[in-house]
Amino acid sequence: MIGSKGSLNADHCEKEKVVFKKITLEKLGDLVSALKEKGPLYAPVRDGKAVNFQKITKTADVTLDFYNTVFSPKFVFFPQTEDLIRYTLQKEGAQAEPVPIAASPSVILGVRPCDAKSFEIMDRHFLGAGIIDPYWKNRRDNTVVIGYAFDPAAPPDPADFYNTVGIHAADTEGSDVFMVRKDGELLLKGITKKGESLLKGLAVLDAASAQDEAFFDETIRKDRGVKTRFTEITDTAIAAKLVGSFEKQEIWEEMTASCIGCGTCTFVCPTCYCFDINDETLFRKGARKRFWDACMFTDFTLEASGHNPRPRIFQRYRQKVCHKYSYHVTKYGCISCVGCGRCTRSCPVNIDIFSIVEKVANL
């Protein structure tokens, strides 16, 4: 199970009046417009075959007909590239200005339960341990997450395995507002104070009935039964198993033999947070930037001396799996994986991380 008491639970709404609203799907555009007025809105947008979260400029772009996005919504808090300092190089040194951290309140609409949970896992790393990352903190504090239950009628994607890490298809944890689809309607319930106050300020919403509330609760109850895979893994057991398997090189080589080290799995992952910091200069103007990076790349640990502690792919893949399912458990008390299945769906050589974890669990 992923740690049960996240930080958001503290301001989970008490027994007092719950804020419960609804809107018909035909009026989705009105809801989107109303949310857009509150600040930048990120929501799922269809682009060809893929659906991805984007900053919304046109209300009509938003779709709620999707299974899950190709990229995770982590970029809202942790963009793929971001300027930390902008500078101009001069003869007598550099003129430099730190880039202010944008703090406008924003909303993410339509986040699947596994992704909502991923934000809480990332909080433990960026906010919960040692120095606080000001970029993550600022955006996290100013963003309302509107979660969106998986459709219980549609079968789960075979790559998913969120149930095995303790997340349900209609899990409200990690969301500020949670959304369930009922025929032609969307039911929205406030989960945190932040979510409740957002809902209260949206005049486009109608009040929901007791019947709606019963449907909402029933969906959540029923969705606990949706199984994606069938091996239950527990944090501490898998953490210990992985440490034990570390030196069994032949097993790791065999399991990762087809990996080409492209790093796609880490870029689509909602809980991969490794980054690089580099300076990019063009004609004396430039910026110190941070970029997503990946432990799957050869040069990730390559030192200036030429020494590389992880020159081979199986070593890097083993690092990825051990980091997510073992080191993260020891360090932060939970697995750093939400079972969203993105890495498996996007892998060009069909490696399934859960099969690897399963294999190690059964060693």
């Binding site: 390559l302 030192e303 070593q315 690092q319």
Partner: protein
């Protein structure tokens, strides 16, 4: 909130070329802003990110001691090659008066509290002596000296010309409260001191393991041959400390690069006892 990714401005106030190959220099920086100097409270063994805009950042051990007020020093080797070294090359091209940035102090330190009341054996090889130099300065400071027992220093380089901090070594040789054993792998006509590899010298001197801690920093080959000597002398793994190197970026345990097992070398290290290293996954 102080942004941990933004460096503090410093000015290069002195540059010393340490070795006859000219590729190792000690840079002395003064903080441009007084409040940054006060914020930069460090202990021997910690490191900082040296920042040159347009080039990048490089994690380097602090070579000065917090007992030396008004400046910080870093001894840096120029390692420009295909896999990196952009920052160190740019640093070596700087002149006195140049402005750049420092981000830190970062990481843990040599175990100062643990060393108190104990004899300390300092073992260094080549230019990895930098944070050990910081430690020696710290322990030798009048108000600190009585907190530590006997201090033995074994320091070696390949040739006499490759020894760093030559004037300080000579000054320490003259003192009664520290025993210096400086050695070179291969002597030349200028050298009247000891000749021999660091592990061999350690065996000859044979410091007692009784109430003693060994603090070792050097190239991997030196460490590989030195450790068995200390085990033979009866030093436990809890009483041997070393400092790790690894590629780093953020220096604050966020970017994931220096992750080994459940540790981040930048935040949980770089200083570890051998007992602690034994619990990490065997990757290095």
């Amino acid at each position: 909130m102080q942004n941990p990714y933004i460096p503090m401005p410093v000015e290069v106030v002195n540059i010393v070329t340490e070795v006859d190959t000219n590729d190792i220099k000690t840079f002395r920086f003064a903080f441009v802003n007084k409040e940054d100097e006060e914020r930069f409270q460090y202990l021997p063994g910690q490191f900082a990110e040296l920042s040159i805009l347009g080039k990048g950042e490089s994690p380097i051990g602090i070579a000065s001691s917090p007992t030396q007020k008004g400046y910080i020093e870093f001894t840096v080797q120029r390692v420009a090659n295909l896999s990196g070294g952009i920052v160190t090359a740019a640093l070596h091209d700087l002149e006195v008066g140049a402005r750049m940035g420092v981000r830190g102090p970062l990481g843990n330190s040599w175990p100062i509290e643990y060393l108190e009341g104990k004899n300390v054996v300092v073992v260094g090889g080549g230019f990895a002596f930098t944070t050990l130099r910081s430690l020696i300065h710290y322990m030798l400071k009048e108000e600190n000296r009585s907190r530590f027992g006997d201090i033995n220093v074994i320091y070696g380089a390949r040739t006499p010309g490759l020894l760093c901090y030559k004037e300080e070594l000579a000054a320490w040789e003259k003192r009664k409260d520290i025993r210096m054993h400086v050695t070179v792998d291969k002597r030349d006509e200028t050298w009247t001191g000891r000749e021999g590899f660091v592990p061999t010298v350690c065996r000859e001197i044979a410091p007692s393991a009784e109430n003693s801690v060994a603090v070792i920093c050097g190239p991997p080959v030196m460490i590989r041959f030195t450790l068995p000597v200390f085990f033979e002398l009866g030093f436990s793994k809890e009483n041997i400390y070393t400092s790790l190197e690894m590629r780093m970026k953020c220096g604050i345990g966020k970017c994931g690069r220096c992750n080994v097992g459940e540790k981040y070398v930048c935040k949980d290290g770089p200083v570890f006892s051998l007992a602690e290293l034994d619990t990490l996954t065997r990757e290095y």
